[in-house]
């Protein structure tokens, strides 16, 4: 190349990490694998979903797993008209924060829809799980959310 050229090169970083999940996150992921949603009880009696080892309000240790959902309520949402390559869905979708029935915090996931008019805060939704054989204990064991009244 000519003198004065500014060189650039493609550079790829890959991190083949395998994370140990610990007992609390592990319980949630185990629940997903088994097709159910579990949370944990915080110090003030609040149920934290997805569960953390500590109460997000007080920082104190949480204890006692509880089953919640699987239905829940959308607490906020945003609409992605042009999904990015790494987004979970390839067609337009909504990010939804879902408060599972029995939970006091919200869980982030996605919900496909034909347009933003079909999504609103307060709507009732439920997770659509991947087939049992495909579930490994990962947030993607939930393929996406659907309105509660949607056909399976």
């Amino acid at each position: 190349m000519a003198e004065g050229t500014n060189y650039s090169a493609d550079h790829v970083l890959e991190y083949p990490y395998v994370r140990s999940v610990g007992p609390v996150v592990g319980a949630f992921l185990t629940g997903l694998r088994d097709g159910k949603i579990v949370g944990i009880r915080g110090t003030g009696g609040k149920v934290v979903v997805p569960p953390t080892e500590y109460d997000p309000d007080t920082g104190e240790e949480t204890s006692g797993m509880v089953d919640v959902g699987p239905e829940g309520t959308v607490t906020s949402w945003s609409w992605v008209p042009h999904p990015r390559p790494k987004h979970p869905l390839t067609t337009p979708f909504a990010w939804v924060l879902v408060r599972f029935d029995g939970a006091d915090t919200s869980f982030l996931h996605v919900m496909p829809a034909s347009g933003p008019d079909e999504v609103h805060t307060g709507m009732r939704v439920r997770p659509e799980f991947a087939p049992e054989a495909d579930r490994v204990g990962h947030v993607n064991d939930i393929r996406h959310f659907v309105p509660v009244d949607a056909a399976s």
Partner: protein, 361 residues
Amino acid sequence: MSGFPELTSGHRPVGVVSFAQYDNVRREDAHNEVEMLMPVVAEVFGSIGITKDDVGFICSGSTDYLVGGPFSFVTALDAVGVWPPRAESHVEMDGAWALYEAWVLLQEGEIDAALVYCFGRSSPGDLSEIMALQLDPYYMAPLWPDPTSLAALQAQALIDSGRASESDFAAIASRARRSALANPKAQLAYDRSPEELLGEDYEVAPLRRHALPPLTDGCAAVVLAAGDRAYELCERPAFITGIDHRIETHAIGARDLTRSPSTQLAGEKAGVATKKVDQAELHAPYAHQEMILVDALNLSDDVALSPSGGALAANPMMSAGLIRIGESARAIWSGQADRAVAHATSGPCLQQNLVCVLEGV
């Protein structure tokens, strides 16, 4: 010399005495980080007639993920020259937090001046993917939510609360970009009405293009000096009378996204409300976040908001917060303001916030 202001934080008056920033650009592909920083460091020292030998501490803020080079922050020190060996530190945070660390060290009284610098390039990688990796690795990062998607959840929650509308976001963006016309370092400045902006498409609804920050490559530097040394270097130092930073949980589903209790608490600790505020430089990358911050800091209507255009005018990662402090200091040096509030944020949806109150005497 005209004395020192009363301090809410600390016991030793420390002033911002110099500030420099790179031309904020969409893509700086001719120069590497060291080459970007060198002229900025030269300016921040040169404009007050000192050299690196005159500062007792160097603190920087950056994140190596932006360029994909582990420990790239170490090579960035070549822009300063650290021989003989220097007292130095680095935070994987915006430079505003590096400034906080330097301020703490200056409180101890061992040194009288410090250099703070920061740099961030959004262009080498895909910022939306890189920023997703700051999220909780079990529940959120595997879904790759980008910062705009998360900010849009926050904006929707604000709309649902009845405290804001899309028109408010457009009005903020319109005002910020118009202010930016007077800022020679602004990357994105225009004179367009809110009505016109509302005609734009959604990036991620309810956020239209105007409500988003530009993608920016940039860097910045500040010199802090304590006590009499501040007056030796600057006619009217911008003294830090209050500074505090607070963080909330990373779990966005466990927060009220329409409020910023961390900003509120930091503002209280920094003494924002103890006296009249002339202007506030708020690090609100997304237009709606300005409303949340104004609310949290309880700023009255007569406070000039982000006269530089704020992060909507230029948003160099790891630097836009320190630039808010630098711009505030500049307003005090010029006499445009006597008391200014600077704010910096980090993390998704205003998770972590720093508030710095600057005063001239």
